[in-house]
């Protein structure tokens, strides 16, 4: 039966994606950028929308939620997967509301006023069937995909406003967004970049060679020298893995030290992060916040005699509180960290925060 074939193909694709996620996550650092993950998740969700069997919006949301839970469970640290799932859920809600004819504002935010006046919750079972819902949803997901493809360019376009001539800019590790940002600015301006190498993965090396190929003056420093050179730095520009709901960051390890050093010297800290990295999670010291990789990066097996008597840790991420951040540059423009919670409400529906 053609239907069954499609279904098995679909589940195969989902399985393949899941195993890809699991494998990538175990390597040190992400082997694929978050942008690719976001795009692949969205395409997969579009495929699910197109091929899965559902009759009304509620069913579709259930299916997507279920798949979303499985995908996030595959790699909890890869938050873009969950973010894309939530975006798609919000798209479905919007399209449903539009098909029903009610205004989009209707059940958007929970406000105190609404809680008091509406009495019973405006619960929509999403059970009504609309013929064009599928097409609308798929079209909206296509728009989302287009938006995803343009994020890096949108961020890079803002580079010239923030980087001036003869500035010394500091960054840490390797972020494709920041790389594009700096390369775009380098077309018109001359500045100097200091890259902290970010041990033990030393992704800063790759970043530095890539920047120097574009004739940007780059210097690589070891992590220990971050505070020492900070007095000469005009701006710190970093990328991040996730932007948390309170405006804080979950970024590569060493970023908190960098942020503290920048604060001490009153150097502005600019975070270049596309909107798909915004996650409705609040920071907490649960197991899901920190991710560890094999400590042989830190203390290699050649140090055999002492290895058994020593605990070695190799965390991958750092939490950076929002007070240390000056500005977020995203594909929709620049924002202060205190505004992030509002942006979140535009992207995700509050009921979807917990998948």
């Amino acid at each position: 039966m053609p239907g069954a074939d499609k279904e098995t193909e679909l589940s195969e694709r989902i399985e393949a994606f899941l195993s890809e996620l699991k494998r990538c996550g175990s390597g040190a650092g992400s082997l694929r950028g978050s942008a690719e993950t976001a795009r692949e998740t969205t395409s997969l969700l579009r495929r699910i929308t197109a091929q899965a069997r559902w009759s009304n919006a509620g069913d579709l949301m259930e299916i997507i939620r279920k798949e979303g839970r499985r995908m996030t469970a595959g790699q909890p640290s890869e938050t873009t997967v969950g973010n894309m799932v939530r975006r798609v859920l919000k798209i479905i809600r919007e399209e449903y509301a539009r098909s029903r004819g009610s205004t989009e504002e209707a059940d958007q935010q929970e406000s105190l006023h609404k809680l008091l006046t509406s009495g019973g919750s405006s619960e929509d079972n999403f059970r009504q069937h609309f013929t064009h819902l599928k097409a609308n949803v798929i079209e909206a997901i296509n728009e989302l995909l287009t938006e995803l493809e343009g994020t890096t360019d949108n961020i890079s376009m803002q580079a010239l406003e923030h980087i001036h001539s003869n500035e010394v800019i500091m960054t840490i590790g390797r972020s494709r967004t920041v790389e594009a940002f700096l390369k775009d600015a380098a077309r018109k301006r001359k500045f100097h970049v200091i890259v902290a190498e970010c041990a033990p993965f030393c992704q800063g090396h790759e970043m530095a060679t890539s920047l120097s190929k574009e004739d940007i003056e780059t210097t690589v420093i070891p992590d220990a020298a971050i505070f020492a050179v900070m007095s000469r730095v005009n701006k710190v520009i970093i990328g991040t893995q996730t932007v948390l709901a309170n405006g804080g960051l979950r970024a590569v390890n060493g970023t908190h030290t960098l942020a503290l050093a920048a604060k001490h010297h009153s150097t502005p800290l600019i975070v270049c992060a596309p909107m798909f990295k915004l996650s409705p999670q609040f920071p907490n010291e649960e197991d899901t916040f920190h991710k560890f990789v094999s400590p042989h990066e830190v203390l290699p097996f050649t140090e055999g005699e002492i290895l058994s008597k020593v605990n070695a840790h190799c965390p991958v991420f750092d939490y950076v509180p929002p007070e240390l951040i000056t500005l977020f540059i995203s594909n929709i423009g620049g924002n202060a960290p205190s505004y992030i919670y509002r942006l979140m409400s535009e992207l995700y529906h509050p009921e979807d925060h917990e998948l």
Partner: protein
């Protein structure tokens, strides 16, 4: 410098000018014609300097741009490397070649910087012609990262050709041959001599050190410093003092000279040599000051044997009091600060802090230690080994994981390389970061430092007078890929490997010294008290 003009060999060597930096140090004396030619060139160089008195950076670049050009053939890749480097093929021809233009570490670094600066300047000069003053900022960044070769008493800015000429002149006066330090083991007892009295070492290099000028134990010491075999300020000071004891032992007063004056003069070239191998630390500087003072205080009617004995005793007592007993006193104070159940964070390998922790463990304090380490030196592993051998429970992380591990920590113990007169702590690079993050988490930071490391310098940032380590140490191979392998081929890429940094006093809660526990800002008080004593 009137006397230098009179001396024949000097006129050759200080006529460096634009072209002849290479020929600084030659074994043979030059002929009269050559001397005249060099004198002329020197005059020409002075005239040229007066002529193009444009923006100072431009002038420096011109000079440096022309200087590295002729020197390129002689110094290819070693030009940018620091001391421990096997000299390559060019050096292997040297025993055959009559003159090997030996270069000093400082000059090699200067040339590398100069080359980078000139290239950067030429690029910038083309693009931003009108912004001469502003374009100096990114150039200023590498310029000010130059190491200052010595800290006391000669401050040499390596990017200043005039100062370098003066230094070369002075060294030549002291008859110190600047050598290109190579990777080898030099043991004075198994070192064969060439026919003309020079030390022949294992590799194909001949070090042009006349044995009669520099004492072999000083040569050995210099090589051990430059290779990092002896590292850590206490170890370096103790080794220096032992070497000086040997020198004093072998010293014999020439006729018509007084021991107190002549010995001091004899020591000066040794000290210059050592500072060429590796810049002197504050502790070494203080030790040298002490020795010189003791030597000058020897009464003139004292017999030579008696004087030597006195000096040996002085050195022994200095080591005993200032280093060994001081560390005992510091341990006693510090152990009061360690309570049961503490989680103590240490950084890198400080002999003093390790000693304190071992003593505390022996006194049955229950604590565990977190050792923080950083690339590229990875000195923390040595500390880890020592502590684990004692049986202390340890955790090991890299400095980038500091924010993760700090919430567990109750105290931070740091060692110091020197304490500056404005209260700043100069220590291994990364210490200031530890103090910064500890402050953010409200963890007390205790610095342990003996008083002989207190120095009268002041500085506020980590660039002025710092050491640069070998930049190739930063290169690492991960997953089979070495990204920075050919970093020299990328013109815009630079590697910076600092050795020290300064920690502001607001990050430090307490300094434990042999005189007691003092705040950071009391350092000048201690210095004054010490001076009054002496």
């Amino acid at each position: 410098m009137a006397d230098s003009v009179g001396r024949q060999s000097d006129s050759i060597n200080h006529a460096t000018g634009k072209i002849n930096r290479l020929e600084l140090f030659k074994r043979k004396e030059l002929t009269k014609e050559e001397k005249q030619r060099l004198r002329k060139e020197k005059k020409q160089h002075k005239k040229n300097k007066k002529d193009d008195r444009g923006p100072p950076e431009k002038e420096k670049e011109k000079e440096k741009a022309s200087v590295p050009a002729p020197s390129k053939p002689a110094t290819q890749s070693p030009a940018h490397k620091a001391a421990p480097v096997p000299v390559n093929a060019s050096a292997s021809e040297s025993p055959v070649a009559a003159e090997k233009p030996a270069k000093s570490k400082a000059e090699l670094r200067a040339e590398r910087r100069a080359r980078q600066d000139s290239e950067r300047a030429s690029k910038q000069g083309k693009k931003e012609g009108g912004q001469q003053s502003t374009s100096s900022k990114p150039k200023a960044t590498p310029n000010e990262l130059q190491p200052v070769v010595k800290r006391l008493p000669d401050h040499v800015q390596v990017d200043d050709p005039v100062a370098l000429k003066k230094l070369a002149k002075k060294l030549e006066r002291q008859q110190v041959r600047q050598i290109n330090i190579v990777m080898l083991c030099l043991l004075s007892d198994c070192c064969p001599l060439t026919d003309d009295g020079f030390i022949q070492v294992f590799s194909e290099i001949t070090l042009h050190i006349p044995v009669t000028v520099i004492h072999p134990s000083i040569v050995r010491l210099g090589l051990q410093y430059s290779q990092g075999i002896i590292a850590g300020s206490n170890a370096r000071s103790v080794a220096l003092l032992h070497a000086f004891k040997q020198v004093i032992q072998d010293y014999s007063t020439p006729p018509n000279e007084e021991l107190s004056r002549d010995l001091v003069n004899k020591l000066s070239p040794y000290i210059s040599f050592l500072s060429q191998c590796r810049p002197l630390s504050a502790s070494m500087g203080n030790a040298i000051k002490y020795i010189k003072k003791e030597i000058s205080n020897i009464p003139s009617q004292c017999k030579e044997e008696e004087a030597k004995r006195i000096l040996q005793e002085c050195i022994d007592s200095y080591i005993n009091e200032k280093i060994i007993l001081a560390s005992e006193a510091i341990s006693k104070y510090a152990i009061e600060k360690i309570s049961d159940g503490d989680v103590i964070l240490v950084y890198g390998c400080s002999s003093l802090v390790n000693h304190i922790l071992c003593e505390a463990f022996e006194k049955q304090r229950k604590f565990r230690v977190i050792v923080v380490d950083s690339r590229p030196r990875l000195e923390g592993r040595e500390a880890l080994r020592r502590l684990v051998k004692k049986g202390i429970r340890c955790t090991y992380v890299l400095i980038s994981a500091l924010s993760y591990i700090l919430p567990e920590v109750s105290k931070v113990f740091l060692g110091a390389h020197a304490l500056l007169a404005n209260g700043y702590v100069m220590s291994r690079v990364g210490t200031s970061q530890i103090a910064l993050v500890a402050k953010a988490y409200n963890v007390p930071v205790l610095v342990c430092c003996e008083t002989y490391k207190f120095c009268e310098r002041v500085q506020t940032d980590s660039f002025v007078s710092n050491e640069l380590d070998d930049p190739d140490d930063l290169i690492v191979t991960r997953n089979g890929k070495t990204h920075l392998e050919n970093w020299q081929t990328f013109k815009s890429l630079g590697l910076l490997n600092l050795v020290y940094d300064v920690t502001p006093p607001d990050f430090v809660d307490l300094v434990i010294t042999d005189l007691g526990m003092i705040p950071c800002t009391s350092v000048p008080v201690v210095l004054r008290v010490k001076n009054v004593d002496q």
